[in-house]
């Protein structure tokens, strides 16, 4: 479970986040939506450890945590998939899945930094099969995969390593219909495994299809939240434009 | 001061400066064109540039130049050069910078005879007299002298030395040249082949350049020895070529089997001559080049004497004659015992 309470983030004298709240529960997909400039990206960066916040608190499983780097976030079990910049094209699928967390060989060779490539290949193939990601071979360089396959690998990597939270920033923005469906299948698997999934998206039908709950941001705060089953696309648009507010105490601007 | 006023003020200043510069320019042109201008009193700064820094040869030129400056009064030598002989454009810029920095005279060795001709000319146009050492330009203005080795004559003699050393019978020989396209290289290569023509028993079986790089000289010599197992003699036409060639012969275990005629007299070349790895060295007189170049430049600037070209001469050094007084002066030139005719 991932929570944010009253998070403030300033860039110079611009306040991108003005006391934002956010909650993502275990075993749920929480969609985070909002118009451009509402503060979604900034909030995601704070939650992912890419940017420190100025005020407020971020809690993982109820414990307050201050992330100094993405590495800290990862240690806390929070994995993030960015819209781009996610994979190293020249490395194989297996190498990408284990990037930064390679398996060393046992014994003195491992201490010298040599890798157990076979174990990584096997582990990668098993993990991808478990998530239902179909890739021809785990030794294939990422550059040879389609856009959807690459994104599946990126999402799979996050899901494999996350113990608590997976944050997906526009994971399907550049993908076609079929490819998007494949990525969303992987997202659904992550939920089944009991993780908190945060999905940032502009695609309202997709949000309503995959998310359990929706939180809406406007002007650096959370202004509305819904159960996905209870709302329509029109409600979401109204909330994004400020016409519909469910969290008056949050939205009250200082 | 209002911006408007300031800009008008600036324009006036610029105009004045331009007028002044133009008149100054005309004056300089007059001074440079007329060779009979009065002698320059006071301190002199003479720029001396080798083809490239980094070889023994050019350091001896430098010693000669500084010796001549030391014998005169109030003369400073500014020594600067490009890093590689192949950096022709760099040398063009260097000569221009000398002119810009206002030296009184330039003494230099052209890395390329055609490419440096305009640089020499523009120095003369700016009123800075020029003397060439080692390698001149083409065309070479009549007022610019050349103090150099007669490379062609030296190389012809190298072929004769090789023929004498090899003796009767048919022999295969090779030429390690250094910088194809440079005038000095062309003269030595042509002089050597010209000299070979007089010896029907010598056949030139290989000719490769070292680009004045010892490692490359060694590589091409190794390959030449491989290609021509019967090779009897090598003429290596400059210092790095000689050093690389003897390394290659040594590592092939052919020292003594292949007769080497070298050029120049770096310490390791002289040592190799003593050790019997080299049969003879054609030794130029770089000290004299630097000396004569700077000396006549000083006389020209101080007394208006026209500068006249001179052959700085070569000495043929063998293990037998290297102890003689005359050869020692060439091998170990110093300002105390300069190898120059005074």
């Amino acid at each position: 479970m991932l929570e944010a309470h009253g998070v403030v983030k300033r860039f110079g004298h611009v306040e991108a986040l003005r006391g934002a709240d956010f909650t993502a529960r275990k075993g749920e997909v929480t969609a985070l939506i909002g118009d451009n400039g509402a503060g979604k990206s900034t909030l995601v960066k704070v939650l992912a450890g890419a940017q420190p916040h100025d005020e407020g608190a971020v809690l993982v499983d109820g414990r307050e945590i201050r992330f100094a780097s993405p590495l800290d976030a990862r240690r806390a079990g929070v994995e993030t998939v960015y819209q781009d910049l996610a994979v190293a094209d020249d490395l194989s699928v297996a190498a990408n899945l284990y990037l930064g967390r390679e398996i060393p060989l046992g014994g003195p060779l491992g201490r010298l930094g040599l890798l157990d490539k076979r174990a990584m290949r096997r582990g990668a193939a098993e993990a991808l099969a478990e998530l239902g990601v179909r890739i021809p071979r785990v030794t294939t360089p990422i550059a040879m995969l389609s856009g959807g396959q690459r994104q599946c690998v990126a999402v799979a990597r996050a899901v494999i390593w996350a113990s608590n939270v997976v944050i997906l920033d526009e994971p399907t923005a550049a993908l076609g219909v079929v490819q998007t469906a494949r990525v969303l299948e992987v997202v659904a698997r992550a939920r089944e495994e009991g993780m908190s999934v945060v999905l940032v998206s502009h695609n309202m039908p997709q949000v309503l299809e995959i998310a359990d709950r929706v939180e809406v941001m406007r002007l650096g705060r959370r202004t509305a939240r819904f159960k996905a089953a209870d709302v329509t696309t029109d409600d979401l648009v109204a909330a994004m434009t400020g016409a519909l507010v469910t969290e008056p105490e949050d939205a009250e601007l200082g | 001061m209002s911006p408007r006023f300031r800009s008008r003020w600036t324009i006036a200043l610029l105009a004045a400066a331009a007028t002044f510069a133009l008149s100054a320019c005309v004056e300089v042109r007059d001074g440079g064109g007329g060779e009979e201008t009065g002698p320059v009193d006071g301190p002199l700064e003479i720029a001396v540039a080798p083809k490239a820094v980094g070889h023994e040869f050019w350091n001896t030129v430098k010693a000669g130049a500084e010796c001549a400056a030391g014998l005169a009064e109030d003369v400073t030598v500014t020594w600067d050069g490009v890093a590689a002989e192949t950096d022709i454009e760099g040398q063009v810029n260097l000569i221009q910078n000398f002119v810009t920095s206002g030296v009184d005279g330039i003494v230099y060795a052209a890395t390329d005879s055609a490419a440096l001709a305009p640089a020499t000319q523009s120095a003369l146009d700016a009123g800075v007299p020029v003397a060439m050492i080692d390698s001149g330009t083409d065309p070479q203005p009549s007022e610019v002298p050349l103090y150099a080795t007669d490379n062609r004559a030296g190389a012809v003699e190298a072929a004769n030395l090789l023929a004498d050393a090899l003796g009767e019978g048919d022999h295969e020989v090779a030429l390690i040249e250094f910088q194809p396209g440079s005038q000095t290289n062309t003269e030595r290569a042509e002089g050597f082949t010209e000299g070979l023509a007089a010896h029907a028993n010598l056949e030139l079986v290989a000719q490769q350049p070292s680009h004045s790089d010892v490692n490359e000289a060694r590589r091409v010599t190794e390959d030449i020895l491989t290609a021509n197992p019967e090779l009897d003699g090598i003429f290596a036409a400059n210092e790095p070529s000689v050093l690389g060639a003897i390394q290659a012969i040594e590592s092939a275990g052919k020292t003594g089997e292949v007769t080497v005629i070298g050029w120049d007299a770096a310490p390791d070349e002289v040592a190799a001559l003593e050790a019997g790895q080299i049969h003879a060295l054609v030794v130029q007189n770089p000290f004299n080049m630097g000396f004569l170049g700077v000396q006549s430049m000083i006389e020209h600037l101080r007394e208006g004497t026209p500068m006249a070209s001179a052959d700085t001469g070569v000495t043929f050094v063998t293990a037998e004659n290297m102890a003689s007084e005359e050869v020692r002066a060439v091998l170990e030139p110093s300002c105390d015992n300069p190898p120059v005719d005074q």
């Binding site: 996610a86 060393p104 021809p136 | 980094g54 590689a84 194809p180 490692n215 790095p240 590592s251």
Partner: protein, 334 residues
């Protein structure tokens, strides 16, 4: 998943397997094929080519450029380029010669000095690239110029001569009849090849060259590792420099001008991509030997230096054109 998609997946799988195998190896394979063809042609054309002496000669002649090309390959894989290798090699070579001449140390100590000098130059490059964030081209261009200047300063622009015979051991010595330089080159190539392909560090080198930001986000200490690549490359260049000096038993201040181009050519012919992320030591060795064979063969056959340069140029064109072609095909698939 629809039936149509499944079919496409199966077909794609086979296609991907074939094109993956072919394309990854294509540059290396082409270069290797060219090497074999040239080798056979020279064996037929010159009776002196296929002799132990000549092959050892080629090996020794190629040793220095091969070691430096290996260093260059590591840097190129990180999407960098090292223009300073010639100056660094010269500086390392003359420093080794100077300590031997002035301090009378052994050739081994001199080699360590040269490696340290090279590593120091590499450290400067690495810090400029990873901390000051200069583009590698600019950072190493500066080092190339400053390094050459330093060479002239420490030598007074004169070759370092009068070295003891023992200094020649690295460049001219033998181990069991095999030239020492060849043995050193083989060990270096094996070690670096293993490091790149089998170690965590190597994996991260490819990752940084492929996508620096992705590597950073994967928790790789990119600054430290990028610097380490340049330091290691510099150390190898220093080793190459001392072998070159040892071969001619002197420290040459003019050594290595243009060496960076040979090293880049060898790496690129062997399949390294200037766009980063790709390159293998085996390929680089093939590239270095291909260039060496062209030069050796030209002298054996009495071909003028000018044609040698044209031939090397043609090989570079062909190799890079292949690389581009391969990249385009990969991108078309993606």
């Amino acid at each position: 998943m629809t039936a149509l998609e499944r079919d496409a997946g199966v077909q794609g799988r086979l296609g991907a397997w074939v094109s993956e195998r072919v394309s990854v190896a294509v540059s290396e394979f082409t270069a290797a094929a060219a090497l074999v063809v040239l080798f056979v042609a020279l064996s037929l054309a010159s009776p002196n080519f296929l002799t132990a002496d000549n092959l050892f000669n080629i090996g020794s002649q190629t040793a220095v450029i091969a070691i430096i090309a290996v260093a260059q390959t590591m840097v190129i894989i990180t999407k960098g380029i090292d223009l300073s290798v010639g100056s660094t090699a010269a500086l390392a070579g003359v420093m080794a010669a100077i300590v031997v001449r002035d301090l009378g140390v052994s050739v081994w100590t001199a080699a360590l000095v040269a490696i340290a000098v090279g590593a120091a130059c590499g450290l400067v490059n690495g810090l400029l690239v990873s901390v000051v964030r200069l583009p590698p081209f600019i950072a190493t261009l500066g080092t190339m110029s400053a390094g050459r200047g330093l060479v002239f300063i420490v030598t007074g622009a004169v070759g370092v001569y009068s070295l003891p015979e023992s200094f020649q051991l690295l460049g001219n010595g033998q181990i069991g009849g095999v030239p020492f330089a060849i043995v050193v080159t083989a060990l270096v190539a094996l070690a670096v090849g293993y490091l790149l392909s089998q170690s965590r560090f190597g994996q991260h080198v490819y990752a940084m060259g492929s996508n620096l930001e992705a590597a950073r986000r994967a928790g790789i200490a990119v600054r430290r590792k990028l610097t380490a690549v340049y330091v290691l490359a510099g150390a190898l260049v220093g080793l190459g420099g001392v072998i070159a000096a040892s071969r001619v038993n002197s420290g040459q201040p003019n050594y290595g001008i243009g060496l960076e181009l040979d090293a880049i050519a060898a790496a690129v012919i062997g399949g390294a991509s200037l766009f980063g992320g790709q390159g293998r030591i085996a390929g680089t060795l093939i590239g270095a030997f291909l260039i060496a064979l062209v030069r050796n063969g030209s002298v054996l056959l009495g071909i003028s230096i000018h044609y040698q340069q044209v031939i090397v140029g043609l090989i570079i064109w062909a190799a890079v054109a292949f690389d581009q072609f391969r990249r385009r095909r990969l991108e078309a698939r993606g």
